[in-house]
Symmetry: D2
Amino acid sequence: MGIRVAVAGASGYAGGELLRLIVGHPEFDLVAATAHSQAGLPVAAVHPQLVGLDLVLGRTDPAVLADADLVFLALPHGESAALAATLPDGVRVVDLGADHRLTDAAAWGRYYGGEHAGAWTYGLPELPGQRALLAGATRVAATGCYAVATTLALAPLLAAGAAEPDDVVVVAASGTSGAGRSAKPHLLGSEVMGDLSPYKVGAHQHVPEIKQATGATGLSFTPVLAPMPRGILATVTALPVDGVPADPRAVLAQAYADAPFVHVLPEGVWPHTAATLGGNSCHLQATVDVDSGRLIVVSAIDNLGKGAAGQAVQCANLMLGLPETTGLSVHGIAP
Amino acid sequence: MGIRVAVAGASGYAGGELLRLIVGHPEFDLVAATAHSQAGLPVAAVHPQLVGLDLVLGRTDPAVLADADLVFLALPHGESAALAATLPDGVRVVDLGADHRLTDAAAWGRYYGGEHAGAWTYGLPELPGQRALLAGATRVAATGCYAVATTLALAPLLAAGAAEPDDVVVVAASGTSGAGRSAKPHLLGSEVMGDLSPYKVGAHQHVPEIKQATGATGLSFTPVLAPMPRGILATVTALPVDGVPADPRAVLAQAYADAPFVHVLPEGVWPHTAATLGGNSCHLQATVDVDSGRLIVVSAIDNLGKGAAGQAVQCANLMLGLPETTGLSVHGIAP
Amino acid sequence: MGIRVAVAGASGYAGGELLRLIVGHPEFDLVAATAHSQAGLPVAAVHPQLVGLDLVLGRTDPAVLADADLVFLALPHGESAALAATLPDGVRVVDLGADHRLTDAAAWGRYYGGEHAGAWTYGLPELPGQRALLAGATRVAATGCYAVATTLALAPLLAAGAAEPDDVVVVAASGTSGAGRSAKPHLLGSEVMGDLSPYKVGAHQHVPEIKQATGATGLSFTPVLAPMPRGILATVTALPVDGVPADPRAVLAQAYADAPFVHVLPEGVWPHTAATLGGNSCHLQATVDVDSGRLIVVSAIDNLGKGAAGQAVQCANLMLGLPETTGLSVHGIAP
Amino acid sequence: MGIRVAVAGASGYAGGELLRLIVGHPEFDLVAATAHSQAGLPVAAVHPQLVGLDLVLGRTDPAVLADADLVFLALPHGESAALAATLPDGVRVVDLGADHRLTDAAAWGRYYGGEHAGAWTYGLPELPGQRALLAGATRVAATGCYAVATTLALAPLLAAGAAEPDDVVVVAASGTSGAGRSAKPHLLGSEVMGDLSPYKVGAHQHVPEIKQATGATGLSFTPVLAPMPRGILATVTALPVDGVPADPRAVLAQAYADAPFVHVLPEGVWPHTAATLGGNSCHLQATVDVDSGRLIVVSAIDNLGKGAAGQAVQCANLMLGLPETTGLSVHGIAP
């Protein structure tokens, strides 16, 4: 008999990917999946790719969730804190939302508004020392999708003293599933196909999370919506520290030598998002710009994989003492 | 120690998907992957989604293949027969190409040209009695991608006497990976994105295969290239047999009651290709046209999954006495 | 001073394309554009591609429309009849909606419901004799997008006695703009990219319109949503009439010898949708299926061009005694 | 009788767009279009969107080109200099390639190699004073696509002393037509759909052109291939000059007050590429990043329009004393 797992917010895109991973996980038993307006529908009516999954979406009832060993919360920002507060300590919880990511209440207020729910253990296993923290945690705040892509590219360079923290510039493009499943006019297929559009330019809510996770002190972050369902490509640049002979690729390769899901590609090979689709991998490459001398790192992830559901399962594996890779794939599905 | 598996033609799209499935298969050990012009390259240089797979593409050497227990041939049409002839009887072979599909030498000559290599056991497990044949086979010709989508939709209606075999009309659209990985101008992204284009109109080489597999006697088949990497959607229509109260959906549901990968969707729910991406499932739905009275069946598959690599692994499982579903997923990856 | 033109329903996709064509038309002056929920917004806020167009969307006020010489109605089905009834006889009206297309009130009731508003002159100039009717008309019902693509492919074959009218099978795929601009979950970019999905299978409201326009007596019509913003590709098949030596391409070429916007492509060249994007052309090709003997015609149009706004302007040109091609392009924009 | 115009390199994507614009231009007569391997084919066989254009592609014969009043060169880099040298002074020439853009021979050698052909009048009319130079020019080097998008965003900020020139960071994503029409494996539709991939990271040949055109002294430029046929979205960031109260949007609005094709969008509205498709416009917006204080400007163009063929026609209009906008559209085609 496996670990009893429940998902709240199972009708969205991250929720659907969680369900897929959970039913394929050798140690997990999916016992409940809850939703709001779509409660009462079979899972396969909401997620046709999960045909044959014999489960009906329930209402988001704390009592049902409390009966599980492990609960994933895939709710809109601001909804998970109240729900999490109702769950017994013995239930492990991984929150895919932002509610418990930030340690700085002021930053929370500035970018999200409302009361700060307090920070949980941060769910990015590849940060130094983080696996040990996750192993002992019962409450984990999984990393945001843009923050995964940016932090994995940037954190080792700052930690190694190779890059200046005060003038980091990031442009990151995401597939549309990152914008969620709510029907909004600007997310219609007719609008997004053939189109690139920036949004939240100059003030994106992932900025404080990335600064907290990386140690960057000055960060310009511009997100762009790209005409594809999945994937994030982040171009991260920073000034080199004077006098440090920077080989940014070597710094990354050393930092991730033991990380099963982070792959520093062979020299000269650059990441692209399609190679990560459906898997839990992050692909990285780095160089020094010949003109400006800036360090440039590019990272690619599946925003619903390593950027959301896969990351959450990876964290759960660590919380439960399972091998980090259980039920996850390093391989993508291409073309 | 598992079953030793080799793939010839591993650099193409079907080859790449085979490698992904083989390395994830609990009973298979990938021992060799061969190619032509890309021999000598690491697999991950050719298939970046298979990052971390520590294997170099070899030359297509019969001796290497003969050393395996199971060989998948994912070669261009006309190249597998000669290679297969060199392999010992004890090596099980699944050919994803067309060389051994047709029993009718004349039809082979008409659509493919060259000498007819003779037919092998046909690799479509869902045809009546076919699982038993596959269980005893050492040489299997896996079904073509369009033939999978069309045959699964049509065969039960003809077998049940519900549809007339002499005036079947099929229009099937495929993602571009079905056209292969050779660099041809009309397959450039700039050409295919935003575009639908028919091809081989009036004379497609899958026609004799579909007729052989379904019993259709008159078949108009029009393929269309669609702006997406994967997926086939086949719209299959046939005249009802007079006097037979046709409920085509019920006929299909009964035919596939025990087929783990063929899903007749709930009434009113129509298949769409994205729900099958990455899995080995075929989704089906059927109705009677209110104006013409024609039976309309729509099927959706992943052309590289149930239409190629997944199907081939499913056949291999049956040949080897393994559960049909080993190492395969009924679930797709969406969005 | 030019012809004063107004557009009702200017906030949708057909409305936006109408505005673009009108402001580029040498004889037209755009005097009003009206909308519902978006009234009060500048046109460019709703249609960013029309940057610099200095006009605010007004409310749909009959008095404003009555002040124009020519009014285009690009409203949802069922909304144009009432509005049209308020307009003076002297105002020419082209309705892009379905309200006045069908002559058969029963067919209207069956597919659309509600009261039948009566038929106007049918806006497909390429039908025999239709240009003369349009020249004298003040009320024109422009053809539906699927009906344009199907009728141009089929009508000449039936008129020439080359094809049987009682067993026509059509599968037609459309870009997503054909589904309109309302935010619906299944039209999200995340859902439609990488996906083909059939809809209204077995009972589509364009069936009676196509039968009326072509003379077909039995018609199976299956529409498919394709992952691209614009374009319709229709595959139209019909049985040949016994004893008639069918050269379907020659029949089409003769029928459209004088039609500036309908192009029968050189032998062996098949239409594809991208070549029609942004223009008012229909591309056609035909053959006889070698296996079944069916006649197969494929047509490609831009659903917002020849399938909607372009067609409407073409009709208006004829109503006004202008050259048919004024302000329209036969050329598409590719890639 | 109009101006006699010829296009060399008419079989590529920029060449096709040039043909479309020329045949729609009220003052131009297209007299010749030349190509290499596709010489001898009708234009419409190579550019199906130009159906009905009755012209055969000729060989690239200097005598034929010399007979025109105006020649557009749309050739691969390195091929236009030799050809241009054969043309009489009286023939006006617009080169869409890079051969005559750079004034710095050393920079040419570093990024392109081979002999430096010398610089022509730079074809970006919106630069201060450039219209006057173009009016007197007979040889014009049209701006590169990425350089258009970046320079229009950046040049006014540097000219106004609002931004520092030494730490400019640009990430720009382009549709695939920017990579040309040669059949290369990585440009196949199967590869590019659903994918974002960076290329030439750390050393792109547009860097010296952008520095020359803008006055930037330090520039990190990262290009990304995006899954769409057309469009460039450039995100341009630079540090503000200390003590200068920067309102970057106001600086841009003033710079382009009289530019018919450059549109600074209303405050809060960000450019997106689809709105520029098929037109000659550049859309701009700017802000100050709340966290880093960097100036962020985003620009969107159609890479084949304002980024290539449209720009070239705009330059030719100025060279010929025609209104700058003749034969060009400020409006895009969407969706």
